[in-house]
């Protein structure tokens, strides 16, 4: 066995290598994002996912091995979800004043996301557990993964769909709302959080603080609503 092979086997067994790669890849993505003057087209998550995927396929490493290192980053999604209470609390006054529009936008946004994803997927020939995996894709990952498992989807596939939804949302949201002529940051942020969860929320914070806070609320509420509604919709559709 050569020294290099021995070193490679050693590195594959611990979390150090892929944890470092995850941070480096995201660092590169963030650097490119800043260099592109925060253009939504250069999404740091997308850049990082592509770089790491190429590295994994190139070195013949499976996802389980990668996740042993990356789980430390993944774990922080839990406390980050709890931390969303902070901007929510800071904006409680605005929230009270917009309770009714928020409730309506939440119900419509959440249902449109679920039904149109499954509808368009079905029209394009997607069937079976892959179609089911599309249903919770607008909810934040910890919620979507749990829901996918409950309703008979593939959690790993749902995870990827959730991330892609967030990236698509972050990319299209600003041009879309500018074209629609919406200037209300509360509405823009809230609808973004409902449709594109944490990645949309991160994008909203980059654009405007009020939009970011409302996006956090929209994401939190849609997490609750998807957790409650998706099993019912799934039972009714499949």
């Amino acid at each position: 066995m050569s020294d290099f092979t021995r070193l490679w086997i050693y590195l594959q067994q611990g979390p150090l290598l892929w944890l470092t790669v995850t941070l480096l890849a995201y660092g590169i993505g963030d650097f490119l994002f800043l260099r592109a003057k925060r253009s939504p087209w250069v999404n740091p998550v997308l850049v990082a996912v592509v770089l790491i995927s190429v590295a994994l396929v190139g070195t013949g490493t499976d996802y389980e091995t990668y996740f042993q290192g990356a789980q430390f980053v993944h774990f922080l999604l839990g406390p980050a979800t709890v931390a969303l209470a902070v901007p929510l609390f800071a904006n409680l006054r605005h929230v009270r004043s917009a309770l009714l529009p928020m409730t309506a936008a939440l119900a419509v946004g959440s249902l449109v996301a679920m039904l149109s994803a499954v509808g368009i997927g079905w029209l394009c020939g997607v069937r079976g557990e892959v179609l089911v995996s599309l249903l919770p894709k607008s909810a934040t990952s910890p919620v979507a993964l749990g829901v996918a498992e409950t309703i008979g989807g593939v959690p790993a596939l749902t995870a990827a769909m959730v991330i892609l939804t967030g990236i698509i949302g972050a990319v299209v949201v600003t041009p879309l709302y500018n074209a629609m002529g919406v200037t209300d940051w509360r509405a823009r942020g809230f609808a973004t959080g409902v449709a594109a969860h944490g990645i949309g929320t991160a994008r909203a914070f980059q654009v405007n603080d009020t939009a970011g806070a409302f996006a956090g609320i929209g994401m939190g509420l849609n997490a609750l609503l998807t957790a409650l509604l998706a099993p019912i919709v799934a039972h009714w559709l499949f």
Binding site: V45, A70, P79, A83, V126, S138, A156, A160, I199
Partner: protein
């Protein structure tokens, strides 16, 4: 740094216990978020304590989605089979949900006499 982290994790833990023990469909961290919100409303010094740590975590929120996103490499066979349909579904549904949500918000706000 230590106390704020302990508070965030404590809320998540309490939420997780609640979710499992009561068999709720709502995930633990989401219950933890509601719990922290209630605690901040009850104990006034709490928001000032947890805000800096929460801002550091939320300022790097995007990074936390990377490991789940890389999960796509374990699903390449299904992506190859249904790639077009999945992409169409994700693109279409995200644009529709964004537009429907914002339009509903503005419609109801305007009906309530808001002119922003």
């Amino acid at each position: 740094m230590i106390w704020p982290l302990a508070i965030l994790l404590g809320c998540q833990l309490a939420g997780e216990v609640c979710s499992r023990a009561l068999g709720l469909p709502v995930p633990g961290p989401v219950i933890g978020m509601v719990l922290l919100l209630v605690l901040m409303a009850l104990f006034r010094p709490l928001p000032g304590k947890v805000t800096p740590t929460a801002q550091v975590i939320l300022g790097n929120l995007s990074l936390l989605f990377v490991p789940a996103g890389v999960g796509i490499v374990s699903q390449l066979d299904k992506v190859a089979q249904y790639g077009f349909g999945l992409l169409a579904a994700l693109l279409g549904s995200t644009v529709l949900a964004l537009a429907a949500g914002v339009a509903t918000f503005r419609l109801v706000a305007r009906a309530m006499g808001d002119r922003a």
